[in-house]
Structures are given as C-alpha cells and as structure tokens.
Symmetry: C2
Subunit: 110 residues, 2 copies
C-alpha cells in the first residue's frame, strides 16, 4: 500500500474498463479511487452494500439512481453518503470521471 500518490496519476486510457485502486486500507475502512469512462451499472443491477459509502466525484460527472427512484446528478466536488443497504446503481458517467470512495464498516459490526 503506497503512503502517497496523486489521484490523477496513471489514469486508464479512454475506453478502458472501469478501474478500482485502493489508496488506504484499515480494518474499519477502505479509501478507493474509481475511474469511470462512460460506464454504468448493468441494467437491473443494484448495489446493496453492507458498508456505508461516502463518495465524491472529483473530476467528471455521473448520475446515481436509488431504488426509491431518486436520482442524483453529480459534478466535480459533489459528495454524498450512501447508508449500508441503500440500494443504488450508477446510471451514467461522463468521460474520465474520477471518484473518491470511502467504504466504512457499519458501527454495529461485531
């Protein structure tokens, strides 16, 4: 696990798969860079996570859809907290979209 880096370093080329890089890891949390390039969750797929996620769009744009039909259009600097088991999917992303995600174990975990 590197101790330092740059969030915009070694971005995958356009058209590459969505990438996930762990920047920091700890028993209670993981900080991750996600790079999307027009990616979306598969049709009908919903994330249903056991962890709380705090996520920010650092560069680019995206739309997150929630199971209650709410949609959040996100641009650079927009962040939101997604509680554990709050079903959501990535409806769309723009080119070269860089996310910072903090995945947090639920406080009730034994």
């Amino acid at each position: 696990m590197p101790m330092q880096g740059n969030l915009f370093a070694a971005l995958p080329p356009p058209g590459a798969d969505e990438t996930f890089d762990t920047l920091f890891e700890h028993p209670q949390l993981r900080i991750e860079r996600i790079v999307s390039d027009g990616h979306a969750s598969p049709e009908g797929f919903w994330y249903d996570q056991t962890q709380t996620e705090w996520v920010m769009v650092v560069q680019g744009e995206a739309v997150i859809a929630f199971a209650d039909d709410r949609r959040e259009a996100m641009r650079a600097g927009d962040w939101l907290t997604i509680p554990a088991h709050c079903r959501h999917r990535v409806e769309s992303t723009g080119p070269a979209t860089v996310w910072l995600a903090v995945h947090v174990e639920s406080a009730s975990r034994p």
Copy 2:
C-alpha cells in the same frame, strides 16, 4: 450532519480564518474539509495526532514538513497517509487551498 454537499460550496472569503467542516462522522473516522488561504502552522508547532490521517489537496497547494526534515510539496490530487504520532506541520499553503482529510482511529484503540 448533511448527507450530501459540494466540496467547493460556501468557501470562506479570502483572508478568512482557516475553516474545518465535518462532512461525515462515524465512531472510527471523521471526514473533514479544510480550507486554507495562505495559512501555516504556528512556528515551532507540531501536530502529534493519536489518529492516522489520510489527506489530499483537492485544490490549491501546500507544503507539509515532518519532524525528520522531510518536506512534501502537494498540488491538486496529491494525497498522503500520515501515521499516528508522525509529527508534522503545515509549512505553507497557497490561496483557496481545499483539503479533504480522513481521520482514522488507530486499530489498536481499545
């Protein structure tokens, strides 16, 4: 605690005090926005934190100095992990510098 926001919203005006805003809080961690505007740690002051800190410069620039004389010049996207009790100070910051800091309780905490 708001569930969403924008990291660049409601930036303090130039010349204001350094500001600290909690974006997410959990028993094991706290995510914070820090806005510096030419601020530096007081001369001779060292942070000596019981928590591990993962910190990124999102906008602007800064220099962090460590007690072992190491210096890190940070620009947008640069992040680093500062272990607990790793003494450091903010030597300088540029105008309108926006940090994202994740303060993590040490794993050994009872």
